[in-house]
Assembly symmetry: C2
């Protein structure tokens, strides 16, 4: 299948989506955009996935309910700078006020509105600042507003994360766009990954959920900057059907094209997120293969990616394969050391349990790149998993140790 | 119960134990002691616990077998600088050669010898260096040799970890001693925590195992520097009965005194280990209480202790309680945010879900100490767990990123 990346593509790339973003007064120190709005011209089939943290922010609890209550949604509103989390029952009222304000200003039924927050935990959400800005936010909605919306959801991110792609479903060209913010936490208690995806594909809701689950399980659930799970993580997809394709209703070839495109878009967003990880200087794709089952493959990959020793090793560009082997062992999966192989960009340093010292200089060169792939072959079966991670640098410690409150 | 800490106490503090340590040539760069030996005058009842990493070093596999094969042991021999792990079948032969050499030189049956290694993974163990030094190592055995043995097992540790205590079992004074090395990994692929404990208490083997399991589950399994599980972690206890107490054979009051003393000694060792953690500048005791069950309490405490955001927060001395709350939530245990309380050295910053901003300056002062306690009250039950951890500093990253191979 051919997926075409659209230059300057963003969340408003699919037909029938408008967006806007502005500064409403929450991020008073930086005065950067702190409010974002994405609206579909028509009610769009929706799917959402949320943090598995038992501690969920108010907007997460609200949006979960809305996703259950209504099959279609028209708007996603998000603020940055304040997580609206663990701040007492007022936080719940705040969500309702923001939703009501958007509903009145944009003429969108409340149940068709999804909401997110990201920022500091424990503080009261400044509702008035948001509602006062609402008329402007709605007025500025535009098919060229994707980039502004992408700015409005950022916290410690150093750049926006955006993508727009085109692909065909049958003979119809379908588009997909996305914006995201990363898991950085410069400001104390700041958290969250947000991913908003739009598409003009016509698709039945169960299939949209299925595709989203598949994409998330392969991408956002398989990446790690610091292994901390936010209270506000949210992924939304809105499919408004404006491309005019015949609606996808069964898991046939056409559906698979859609799922493949969604996985592609999500992978690109995951890479953008990791590359902008706090203090990160290197992007690493860990591919564990030859595992006895899928769970083993994922467990091993996750354990390597989250090992602090592995992540600091990437900084030093020293091929300490022992740390990788130890992380696989610590994951608890069954394997034999004499079958384990580890390669860096295809160069084997450990081959069936044998350390190939002569490959060391070449592997050192690989590790000096900003982006590389590490293959770990278990030798117990044929299952594999891919995990994205970055290095653990002094920059990360510096950012997160800063006492800026 | 009164437990008396003996000044200068070490592994040779209990009656009937001798030890020695020397440099045999493995740590050729630093020329620091790299070999240690602990011997009981008479066969001692033994217990051991080993790493749960699926990848186990050769000496671990050998010692596990010896612990099964024989109820009593007389000697523990350990080298530092080389982990004897993932280095092919020669590693197994190396273990046998070292054991044979010690057996011949000290007149101890091979099956009464336990063995450990710690250091670089993947390299061949220089057996000849060890066996050539064996006569000297045995000759130097002395009741004052504990400190030398403590030096012989160190890798990246900046100081030895030793303790000696006395307590009474019935009317008999019993002694216990220990040495340990930490989980630092300066040198690439270097790993491992070793803990050797001796006592002159007379105790039946099942009770010795029971006490060891209790102590390890409360101490060495509840501490974290970087959450990486070594291939070589080992804890041994030898009880030679030389104190002359009537042998402990049932879990009565006298046994409980023994267990309590062992927990105390292990706690002290755990603290020494954490305080010497790589790059660590702060020691933090995390006490989770009010959990619905023991598993929940431990899960929550562990998740906080291993959160990179929490650990970097300790560096900056900024009381970001949101990171603690988020880590509890991420642990997956059931709790209600409005019941959660968090205190620093007894000063509540979050009380039943309410953020007490006024306590912030005092809590900041607490976090500037080198050692403090954080209480997290879940409010769902009456179970509690304690976890020891340290901060994540630029020093840690620096040490582990160094490409010194």
């Amino acid at each position: 299948m051919s997926i075409k990346k659209i230059p300057g593509g963003t969340i408003t790339t699919p037909k029938g989506f408008k967006a806007s973003g502005l500064y409403c007064g929450i991020k008073a120190k930086s005065r950067k955009p702190d409010l974002a709005l994405v609206v579909s011209d028509v009610p769009a089939v929706s799917a959402g996935m949320f943090t598995r943290n038992r501690l969920k922010a108010w907007p997460v609890l609200h949006s979960m309910q809305m996703i259950r209550k209504s099959e279609k949604h028209r708007a996603i509103i998000a603020n940055s700078g304040n997580a609206n989390c663990i701040n007492g029952p007022r936080g719940k009222v705040a969500v309702q006020s923001v939703v009501k304000s958007l509903s009145e200003n944009a003429g969108i039924p409340e149940k068709q509105i999804l909401i997110c927050s990201t920022g500091i935990i424990g503080l009261r959400l400044p509702v008035l600042k948001i509602t006062r800005a609402m008329p402007r936010l709605v007025k500025r909605l535009s098919a060229r507003g994707g980039h502004r919306a992408a700015q409005g959801i950022l916290t410690t991110d150093t750049r926006t994360k955006e993508i727009g792609i085109a692909f065909s479903v049958g003979r119809t060209e379908v588009r997909m766009g996305a914006i995201a913010k990363g898991v950085g936490m410069v400001h104390p208690n700041m958290a969250t990954m947000l991913n908003f995806i739009t598409t003009d594909c016509a698709i039945a809701r169960p299939l949209l959920f299925r595709a989203l689950r598949a994409a998330v399980s392969k991408t956002f659930n398989m990446m790690s900057i610091d292994n901390d799970l936010s209270t506000n993580d949210t992924v939304f997809i809105l499919a408004n059907g404006r491309a005019g394709n015949s609606r996808l209703t069964s898991p046939d070839d056409k559906y698979w094209r859609f799922e493949e495109a969604l996985v592609y878009a999500a992978t690109q967003m995951a890479k953008q997120l990791i590359k902008d990880g706090e203090g990160a200087t290197k992007f690493c794709e860990i591919v564990v293969s030859g595992a006895k089952n899928q769970g083993d493959a994922e467990r091993a990959a996750r354990n390597i990616a989250n090992s602090m020793l592995f992540k600091t090793m990437l900084v030093g560009a020293d091929p300490n394969w022992g740390r990788i082997a130890a992380a696989v062992g610590a994951s608890g999966i069954a394997f034999k050391p004499e079958q384990l192989s580890i390669a860096f960009n295809g160069i084997r340093l450990l081959s069936h349990g044998k350390y190939l010292v002569s490959a060391r200089p070449d592997v050192k060169k690989v590790l000096k790149h900003n982006e590389f792939r590490i293959d770990v072959v278990i030798g117990e079966g044929h299952h594999s998993a891919t995990f994205f991670t970055c290095d653990l640098t002094k920059g990360y410690v510096h950012i997160n140790a800063a006492y800026s409150t």
